[in-house]
Symmetry: D5
Subunit: 147 residues, 10 copies
C-alpha cells in the first residue's frame, strides 16, 4: 500500500524514465496542464477515468488510480517560498495585493474570487523584447452572504 | 511636507469626496487599473506627466505629483493575509505553486517570470453559472545566467 | 471624515451610552446577530438600508451609513488568540480539524465549506447540567473544479 | 508494540481495505461521527467497549483496544492550516471571532464555551442553490470563577 | 469615556498615590489577591459590588465600576515572556509539562484542569535556607465528553 | 548504547507491560511523582541509587541507571502547546501572569521564584461540585544581586 | 507622573546635557557599571539610597528615586538582535552554547548558572594586536532540587 | 565515510566508554576546554595535530582527524533555547544587552566585540554562600571602518 | 533635543528641499556613498568633521553633528524584506550562500568576511544588453582563534 | 535513481576522495566558481556539456549529468542563518540595505538589481593589515514596467 508521498515519487520516476512532459501527460489525461500536474503532485484529485489514463500512461500499479481520486491534505509550498519562481508570485501579492482587493470590490462588490471553483493556465507568449510568461486565472466571484 | 502615508490618506479621501472609482482615475491617468491603483496606494510609481494628471483629477497639492514618482518601500500586505480576497491568492500559491514551477521550467527552461517587467489585469467575466474574476498576468521570462 | 477604526470606536460608545445590546441592534437592523455585530466591528458590510437603520438607532453621523457598506480589510483576531473565548474555537480546529476534513470529503467529495456564502448563529441552550453554547454554522459546499 | 502513529496508519489501511466509511465505523462503535473519527485519528479516546467494537470491525490486533483508551497528545493541525477545508474554519475565527466573543458575553456573562465538554456534528443540508455543510457545535458554558 | 488601557493606567496611578498594596486593595474588595489584581490589570472582571469597593478605595470616577464588570480581551503577556519572573513559569511548562500531563491522566482520566473554574494563590513560605514562593492552583477537573 | 530517546521509549514500554503507574514507580524510587516522571521522560535526573531502583522495578538494562543521572537537554513541549492539558497552564500565564509578577514583587521584592530549586505536586481534591486538580509549586525566592 | 519610558528618556537627556558617562554615573551611584546602566535603562532596580544619588547627579525630579526602586518588566532586546554588538553575544550562544552546557555539568553537576544572583563586568584589555573586550560574568551555581 | 553527525555521535560514545571528561580531552589536545568541546561537538575546528591527538585519545578512525579540521556549518542551539542552562545566557542578553552596548561604545567607540577572534573560559569559583560559575570572554575589539 | 528618528526625518526633508542627491552629499562629506547614506539614515556614524560638513550642507541644527557620531542601534530592515530591491539581496544569500561559504573556506580557511571592517560600493555598469548594477564588497578576513 | 539530496552527497564524497577543490572543479567545468559550486550543491543548473565535464572529473554515474541540468527547488539556507559566514551577509542587508535601496534608485530609477541575470565572484585581496574577502556582484538592472 502506497502513501501519498511514495506515489508522488513513483510518478516522478515514471515520468522521467518514459521521458514524458507534464504537458503530454495532461493531454493524455484530458485535464489542463496545471491542474493535472497539481493532482499528480498531491495537490488535487483526478476523476477516476482520468486517473486510470494517467496510470496507464505512466505504468503505475492499479491501486494508484483510486488513490489519485482521494482528496489530499493540500498545501505544498513552505512560506515564504525560497524558490525564486514561486517567490515572485508571493511578491505579486505583496505589491499588487492591495490594488487587487480594491479593484475586485469595485467591479463586483463585497466578495472574493474563489480558489476552489478556479482555473489556471500558463502560456508562453512570443515577444520581440523577450518571451513572456502569461498566467490566466479564472475564479468564480463569490459574494458575501447578505440578509 | 507630506509623508507617503499622509499622501495615500489624502488620495483616499479625495477619491471618496469626488465619488471617483479607481477605474475612472486610471483611465484619466492613462495607466492600467491595477498599476495605477497600486501606485496611488504607495506600491509603485507614476511617470511625472501621469502623476500630474492624477493630482489634477483628485485636486491634490502640487508637490504630490513629484512624490508619486519616488520609488516607495514596497510590500503592503502582512503575510499570511488575513483578508479573504488576498488569502485566496496566497492559497493559489500553496496549492498550484509546485505545478506552476514545473510548467514554467517545462515551457521555458531554468528561469522565472519577472515580477518587475510585469503587467496584471483583472476583468469581470460573464458566466451563466455566476460571473467570474479573470486575472491575467504577463511577466517577462528571465533565464538564469549561463556561462 | 472617519477612519474605520474611529467609526468602530464611535459605535461602541453609542451602544454603551444608549444601553443597547448587540442583539437589540441586530433585531432593529434586520440582520442575524453575529453578522450584524461583525459588520459593526469592521469585519463585514451591511446593505445601505440596513446601515441606515443602524445609524439611526445609534445616532451616528450620516456618512457612517455609507462607510458601513464598504468592504473592510477583514481579519480582526491575532493568532493564536490569547483570549480564552476565541482560543477554544482555535483548539477545536487543532483537535477536531482532521476528523472534520475526513467527514466533509466523505459526505460531499473533494471540496470545502464556504466561509463566504456562510451563516453563523449562537444560541443559549438550557441544560440541567449547566447551560450550553450552541453554535450553528452553515456554509455552501463548494466542489473543486473538475474537467 | 505499536506507537500511536503506527496504530493510526493501521486503522487507515484497514478502513481502506474493508471499504468502510468513517460514518459506518462510527455507527458500529456507537459514537458520533466526528468524535469517533477524531479518536481513531489520535485526537481523542474511546471507552474500552467502544474501542473493542472498532477493533473488531477493522480487524485490528487486540492490544489496539487498550491503546485507543489512552489520552493522546492532542493537536493534529499545523497552524495556520494550509489545507483549504481547515483554513476556512480558521478564517471564520479571524472574521467572526470578535463578534462571537461579544455575543457569548451578552448571552451568558464572563465565561467561555468549553472545548472539552463539547460535541460537534457535521451534516449535509439540501439546498436548491447548492447543498450546504451544516456544522453544529455544543459546548458547556463555563463561567469564570467568582468570589 | 475611558478605554480599558486608560482605566488601568488610572488604577496604577491611584494605587501609587494612595500608597496602597495590591494585597490591601484585594482585602478591601473581598477577592483573592491574584484575582483582584488580574481584574484591575484588565485580565478579569469583578462583580459590581466588588468593583464599587475598588472604585471607592482608589477614588476612581463612578463609571469605572461598570467598566470593571465587562469581560476584557484576555492575554496580557507576550510569549515567550522576556521578564524572568514570568519566564520561570513558562520554563516550568517546558520542563514539567509532559510529566504533569501524565499524572493528570493517571489521577483523573482523559480530561483537563480548567483555567476558567480556577483559583490561584501565592504565599510566602518561611524557610531557614531562604524563603520560598508557594503557588497553589486549584482548577476543576473537566472530563472529555463521552458518548 | 542507548540514546536518550530510545531509553524513554523503553521506559514507556516497560511501564505498560508491567502495568505500573507513574505513581507506583515514583513511590518505589522515593521521589515525588512529577519529578520522578519528568526524570524518566528525559526532563530531569535521578540520583544513582534512585535510578537503580527505577531500573530494577522496570527491568531496564544496567547501563540505564547511569544514563538517568546525566543532565538532559531540557524542554519537552513545543510552544504554544497544542494539547489542552498543557495549553491551560500556558493560558494561566497569559491571564494571571501580570498579577503574579505584581504579587511576587509586593511580597518579596525585586526577584523571582526559582524554577531550579523547585518542587511541584499534583493532587486530586474531592469536591461536591466536581473534583478539582490541585497544583502546589514551591520555588526558592531568588533576590536580584544588590551592591 | 512619569511612565518608565519617559523616565528613561529623561535620564538619557540629562546624561547628554551634563556630559556624563555611564561610568561616571555608576561610580557616583556606587554600583558596577553594567548594573547601574541596566537599572537606569529600565532593566533593573537600584536601592533607594543609590537611586537618590543618581537623581541628584542627573538633576531628575524627586519622585524618580522611588521609581528606580520598582522592579521593571525586564527584557529590552528584540530577538534575534539586529544590532551587531548584541548579535555577537547571541552568536556566542549559538556556537559555544552546547559546549558551555557540557562544561557546566562536568564542573558542577545537574544545575545552572543563575542570571539573578549574577554579576557582569566589561573591561578594556590592552593588546599589541588590537585591544580586546573582556567580559566577566559570575553567577551562583544553582543545583536542581534533589529528593 | 562519516557525516558530521555520525562523527559527533561516535565521539560522544567513545568519551563515555573511556570514561573521559571534556576537560581531560581538552588537556590532552592542548586547546581550552570550551573550544575543544565545541570543536568535537561540530561547532568549530581543530588544527590537524590537535585533531590527531583527539583521535588517538578517543580511538576514532583515522579519517576523523581530517574531518575535524573542516569548518562546520555553525549554530547548534535552537532559539530561544529551551534548556535552562542556555536560556540563562539568552536572558542575560535580554536584560543586560542594552547596557552592554552602551558600555562597549563608551569604552571603545563605534565597534563590536568579535565573536571570531574570541576566547571563552568557564571556571568554578569557591564561595561560602555557594560556589559560582565564572565565565570569562575575551573578544577583539573591531572598530567600524572609517573613511 | 532630537531623537534619532526625528533627525533622520529632518535629513530627508532637507535633502529634498535642497534638491541634493545622496551622491552629492557623500562627495561633500568625503565618505563613500553607501556608507555616508547609511550613517545619515541612522545605520552608522560619521566622524565629527564629516558630520559637520553634512550639517552645513543640509542646513541642520548644530547639535545634529554630535548626534551623527553616536553609534546607533543598527538594523533598519524587517526580515524577510518585502521590498524587491532588498529581497533580491536576501535571495542571493538563499541561493548562493552555501557556495559562498565553501569558497571562503577554500580560499582562506576557517573564518569569515567581516561586516565591520567592511566597505561596499554600488556602480552603474554600461552594457549593450541593458545596464547592470555592480556591487563591490570588501571585508577583512577574520580567522577563527586558534590555540 | 538518485534524489537530488543523494546526488549532492555523492558529489561531496567524490570531491573529498579525489582531493579536488571547488575551484579546480569549476575550472574544469568552465563555469565561475560560485556558480559551479552552487549548481553542484543543488542551487542551480549546468548546461549539459558542462555537467558532463563535472561527471567525468568526479567519476559520477552517467545519469548525473542529466540531473544537473534540471532546475532545483532553490533556497539552501534557513533564515536567519546561524553560521557566522552567512550571517554576516545577512547583517549587511540589515545595516546597509536602506542605503543600498536609495543609491540604486538614485543611479538607475524605479527598478531592481536582478538576482537571476546575475553573476557573483569572490576573490582574495592581499592587504598588509590582513587580507580581505572581495565580493563582486553584477546583476542586470530591471526597471519597473511603465505605461
Amino acid at each position: 500500500m502506497y502513501t501519498r508521498e511514495s506515489l508522488i515519487e513513483l510518478i516522478r520516476q515514471a515520468k522521467q524514465e518514459r521521458k514524458l512532459t507534464w504537458g503530454e501527460i495532461a493531454q493524455h489525461v484530458g485535464v489542463p496542464e496545471i491542474h493535472c500536474t497539481a493532482a499528480l503532485l498531491g495537490q488535487g484529485t483526478l476523476q477516476l477515468h482520468q486517473a486510470e489514463r494517467a496510470v496507464e500512461l505512466l505504468g503505475l500499479p492499479d491501486e494508484a488510480a483510486q488513490m489519485l481520486t482521494v482528496p489530499p491534505y493540500r498545501g505544498g509550498v513552505s512560506m515564504p517560498p525560497t524558490d525564486p519562481v514561486l517567490y515572485r508570485l508571493y511578491e505579486i501579492i505583496l505589491v499588487y495585493g492591495p490594488a487587487f482587493k480594491e479593484i475586485v470590490h469595485e467591479k463586483f462588490g463585497d466578495g472574493i474570487m474563489s480558489a476552489i471553483d478556479f482555473e489556471m493556465h500558463v502560456e508562453r507568449e512570443s515577444n520581440p523584447h523577450g518571451d513572456r510568461v502569461r498566467v490566466i486565472m479564472s475564479g468564480k466571484y463569490l459574494p458575501y452572504r447578505t440578509f
